[in-house]
């Protein structure tokens, strides 16, 4: 890797100030960023660790019943501490990577990175969560803007993510055999006012909502409601691990399984 400065502030305000330096970058768990640096694919002037900021750690239940996860909370803590308050989200966190990745990787890093095969973006979009930053609150529907692209501005920090808790939810992840990221992952959340279905791993546009499935399930919440629905393969990802058609097919299978899990 190239040389860089390193800062580990203890407040969000100090972190924002530190990130004002040109080409400074936030460091979460480093599970994506450090390998990128080792490959010399990025050359930040400074890394600002989120790891020392107490107000960005942990899972808590807000007065309105929503679950807030601090932006620097590692996956392992979400898997453990959200198990009671939002089990489907906890289950998602528990399926990310391996124990080492879960001990280091953070929700803020994952969501900011918006890898098209990552799990959290599906959970955030499927839940209709709110991404809270040092500057504003961004609805999930506005936050994800295509592969590796988000609404975040330069130097903006995800301080927490607020999840409304659905009546039932399920994350169905079909593993890419090598990376064990999602070849296709479907996060389905059933709220009193409707169903949300978010799909990761499948599309060249990154995480997306499958609105036809949502409409069908709003009419009738049964696996069979999806029977005649097919997603258009045209925008699906094709690679070594699966064709567009295969991914499109998996979206249906995983959605159906998520409905079954919520019944």
């Amino acid at each position: 890797m190239y040389n860089f400065e390193f800062e580990k502030p203890s407040t969000i305000a100090d972190a924002v100030a530190a990130l004002a330096t040109e080409d400074a970058q936030a460091l979460g768990g480093g599970q994506t960023l450090i390998p990128t640096l080792k490959q010399r694919l990025a050359a930040p002037s400074k890394l600002v660790s989120m790891g020392g900021i107490a107000e960005m750690q942990g899972v808590c239940v807000d007065d309105d019943g929503s679950v807030s996860v601090g932006g620097a909370t590692p996956h392992v803590a979400v898997a453990r501490d959200a198990a009671g308050s939002y089990p489907a989200l906890a289950a998602l966190a528990g399926q990310i990577g391996d124990p080492a990745v879960r001990n280091r990787g953070t929700i803020g890093g994952s969501v900011a990175n918006n890898d098209p095969a990552a799990c959290y973006p599906a959970g955030v979009l499927g839940s209709g969560a709110t991404v809270v930053t040092n500057a504003r609150q961004i609805a999930a529907d506005d936050f994800f803007q295509g592969m590796f692209t988000t609404a975040l501005d330069e130097g903006e920090i995800i301080t927490s993510i607020r999840f409304p808790v659905p009546q039932a939810a399920s994350y169905q992840k079909f593993l890419q055999p090598a990376s064990r990221f999602a070849l296709v992952g479907v996060y389905l959340a059933r709220f009193t006012d409707g169903v949300r279905v978010a799909v990761t791993g499948a599309s060249e546009d990154g995480v997306f909502r499958w609105s036809e499935a949502e409409q069908a399930l709003n009419k009738e919440f049964r696996p069979d409601a999806l029977m005649d629905l097919r997603i258009n393969p045209a925008n699906m990802i094709a690679d070594l691990h699966g064709s567009k058609e295969y991914r499109a097919h998996l979206v249906s299978v995983m959605t159906k399984r998520a409905v079954e899990a919520c019944m």
């Binding site: 490959q39 079909f174 990376s179 070849l183 070594l240 699966g242 295969y246 299978v253």
Partner: protein, 786 residues
């Protein structure tokens, strides 16, 4: 009663204590005072003409010691190939040069172009980024069949085409073969691909070289399976150094799987640069470098045809294979698709007419060479897949079809150049049927179906040839090396023993198993015997470890040397006991005079050998013997494997529910180690069958260049294995009656997995003839809906 020590005991692997507690000493743990680091700037395109390489800026960068290009090696030999294959017209194979650093052209992604030596690796990398390369990209030669066509772009401009050799084995008369097929009652034909693999040992390759101006001596520490072979090749063919001035050390090696047999450019470079820079030079491959510079495995595209008569007897077999060699000839690459593949095409069957055709191709990909099994998995896969397809077409039981065609009389001369000394294929199949509870399969299938899964059973046999030998025969076949091995048994004065062996242990457990043999022969505790390996300055000239040869070949040398030691010790004991040498018996570490109660202990005799006061004058003092052993034939481990899978019809996901191996390895020294070797081999076979896919795009870019896309088998991809090696027909021509077990699992398992998946699909109502490996969910699903 299982034994608790000596031959046949499951002694715990003593080396594991150091491996598992972080006390191992791997090449990367070795740091030499004052060492510099080398970074190789490698080609990022598959094929190109080098117009210019400008290193001037790099040379002036901080910490840079020296920058080397292909020009620095113009007077130096290239990487040698250890086996000259003669094609079917009697012409030698085409053998292009393989320079240490690219000269004129780059020929695969990862081909090293410039080597930067600097005080630190980071400085070397910084300087490498300042190098200006002008390389004109050429069309990449990737697909083997188009590469073979007239007028195809040439990987090597000086060769007449991209075909290294067009080789044939078995029946040379095409008319006769055509006749057999024309008169057959049934012919089954199958096109298949044996997928390319990356070995990916846990430890990447490393080399550290130092040179002493004072003594004009070199030491190379390197991750090798055979340090003497590396020294010979590097000294005699590459750098032109006298062997006695070069020491090659392969300390603890973290897995080899074949890919660490070969002599690589990086180790020759470090040795050369250590003198040129007058500083020790170290190189540690990154995982990314390993993906583009370790020799890869397999990569055959084949058509196989099996002819059967009206009674389902195999009457003819013909194969046509394109074998990928990659861009250059790696050390033993040429032997793999030929003498290690064609010769195994008879399998366990008495097919009378066999013709094997192999075109070996140069392409703009990483060189391909031996990988666990090396040629034998490719042969087994073709044969056992076509038999399975034939059974389905004919509507006969695949096990019965195999049994009907087994070789049952030994020795058996195959039509493809081998003589099987012994075996009992029906007996081994009986063991498999019992161990795998094949009778209970129908009930297990019903259970799977109740869950909505398809269940399949795949069974196949394999035979392999291990301990490749004898030297005079392999020499006639083109080997440029002998294939014997050597051991020195050094008895110390107080009776403990150091055995210096040519074999190299990089996970196989030699440090445990070899002492079991020596201790058993003398009747002393195993802990009194220690193995020394991996250092040319300590061990006799032996050929190292590959091809499941260590115990069969080097172990035999060790037995012979131990016998010499015992013979001499008996002379000394006879003197001490004032008896005739012929009356001396050795048992449980005691020499006694037959029929008397007079005896002397092992330790007293060994002490006498080194303190020869009361000593037979005609005997030399000391107790140390060396033996070289050149086997009379290969050994022929064989077995039968059964795999049960479940297929999820919604996703195409395959899970292995049960895997059983019945192997005949002859006599067994350490059953636990043998189990472990079979487990590991099957794990790699399952990896090949379901997961591993080294894929290049049409431009020669490696699509699976990291673990993000190259799927290695993990613990939850494999089941608990059932392993049975109670079928034992001892090898007839080596002193231990052993055959070798290191590769069997990787050879026998891929067809079992594929056969099982196809059984699941076909019995589930989907007519699918074949799915190429790896049978990823996507491929299985596509085949089901094709």
């Amino acid at each position: 009663m299982p034994k608790d020590s000596g031959i046949g005991a499951s002694s715990k692997r003593r080396e594991d204590v150091r491996f598992l507690t972080g006390a191992g000493n791997y090449t990367d743990d070795i740091n030499v005072r004052g060492q510099a680091y080398v970074y190789f700037l490698r080609s990022d395109i598959a094929h190109g003409r080098i117009n210019s390489v400008d290193t001037s800026t790099a040379e002036g960068m901080p910490g840079v010691v020296r920058v080397f290009t292909g020009k620095d090696f113009e007077g130096v030999g290239g990487m040698p190939c250890g086996w000259e294959v003669t094609d079917k017209h009697g012409a030698p194979m085409q053998e292009p040069p393989h320079p240490i650093l690219a000269q004129g052209k780059v020929r695969h992604v990862g081909d090293p172009i410039v080597a930067v030596v600097a005080d630190s690796l980071e400085q070397a990398r910084d300087a490498a980024e300042a190098i200006d390369l002008d390389i004109e990209e050429l069309p990449a030669v990737i697909d083997m069949k188009s590469a073979a066509q007239e007028g195809a772009t040439l990987v090597h401009d000086d060769l007449k085409n991209n075909i290294c050799y067009d080789w044939q084995l078995g029946e040379a008369d095409d008319a006769k073969v055509n006749d057999v097929f024309a008169n057959a009652a049934h012919v089954t034909t199958l096109d298949l691909v044996n997928n390319r693999l990356v070995a990916n040992p846990m430890e990447p390759r490393v080399a550290v070289a130092e040179y002493s101006r004072g003594t004009d001596e070199y030491t190379l520490y390197t991750t090798s399976q055979n340090p003497h072979v590396i020294r010979l090749l590097m000294c005699a063919f590459v750098l032109g150094l006298p062997e006695h001035k070069v020491r090659v050390v392969a300390p603890d090696v973290g897995g080899g799987f074949g890919t660490k047999i070969f002599h690589y450019a990086e180790e020759a470079f470090c040795t050369f640069a250590a003198k040129a820079c007058n500083r020790p030079v170290k190189w540690t491959a990154s995982r990314s470098e390993a993906f583009m510079s370790d020799a890869q495995g397999r990569d055959h595209v084949s058509t196989i045809e099996l002819a059967l008569d009206a009674d389902n007897n195999f009457i003819g077999l013909r194969t046509n294979t394109y074998a990928n060699l990659g861009a250059y000839l790696s050390t033993f690459s040429s032997s793999v698709p030929t003498w290690l593949h064609g010769t195994l095409m008879a399998g366990n069957y008495k097919t009378p007419v066999i013709q094997v055709n192999v075109k070996a191709m140069f392409t703009n990909t990483v060189p391909v060479d031996a990988y666990r099994g090396a040629g034998r998995p490719e042969a087994t896969f073709q044969l056992e897949r076509v038999i399975d397809k034939a059974a389905r077409e004919l509507g006969v039981d695949p096990i019965a079809l195999r049994r009907q065609n087994f070789v049952t009389q030994f020795p058996y001369d195959t039509p493809v150049a081998l003589t099987y000394d012994t075996g009992d294929y029906n007996g081994t199949m009986d063991k498999l049927e019992a161990a795998a509870d094949l009778a209970g399969f129908a009930a297990r299938r019903a259970q799977s179906e109740a869950k909505g899964k398809l269940r399949g059973l795949g069974v196949n046999c394999y035979i392999e040839a291990c301990g490749i030998a004898p030297s005079n025969i392999v020499g006639m076949l083109g080997a440029r090396a002998g294939l014997y091995d050597a051991a020195t048994v050094r008895v110390n004065a107080t009776g403990s023993i150091s055995v210096m062996v040519g074999a190299h242990s990089h996970g196989q457990g030699h440090e445990t198993a070899f002492p079991q043999v020596v201790a058993d022969m003398i009747g002393i505790d195993e802990s009194m015997v220690e193995i020394v390996h991996g250092d040319t300055s300590k061990i006799p000239f032996g050929m190292g470890t590959y091809g499941s040869r260590s115990l069969a070949v080097c172990g035999s040398a060790m037995v012979k040397a131990t016998e010499k030691v015992i013979d001499k010790a008996k002379k000394i004991a006879a003197h001490l006991l004032e008896a005739s040498e012929a009356d001396i018996e050795l048992k449980d570490g005691q020499f006694s005079v037959a029929g008397t109660d007079k005896s002397v202990a092992w330790g007293d005799v060994t002490l006498t050998a080194y303190v020869p006061h009361n000593y037979p004058l005609e005997v030399e003092p000391g107790l140390e013997e060396t033996a070289f052993y050149d086997p009379a034939n290969f050994t022929f481990p064989a077995g039968a494997y059964a795999c049960e899978v479940e297929v999820d019809p919604d996703t195409g996901q395959v899970t292995i529910e049960k895997f059983t191996a019945a192997d005949d390895f002859g006599n067994i020294v350490n059953p636990m180690i043998v189990d472990g070797q079979v487990h590991g081999g099957i794990g790699q076979g399952i990896g090949q069958a379901l997961l591993e896919n080294c894929a290049y795009d049409e431009n020669g870019q490696l699509l699976s260049a990291s673990f993000m896309d190259y799927a290695m088998p993990r613990a939850d991809d494999v089941p608990f294995y059932g392993v049975d090696h109670s079928s034992q027909t001892p090898c007839t021509h080596n002193p231990l009656g052993v055959k070798g077990c290191g590769e069997a699992g990787a050879i026998g398992s891929p067809p079992a997995v594929v056969n099982a998946v196809l059984d699941a699909l076909n019995s589930g109502g989907r007519a699918v003839d074949h799915i190429d490996m790896p049978m990823s969910p996507s491929r299985v699903w596509t085949a089901m809906h094709g």
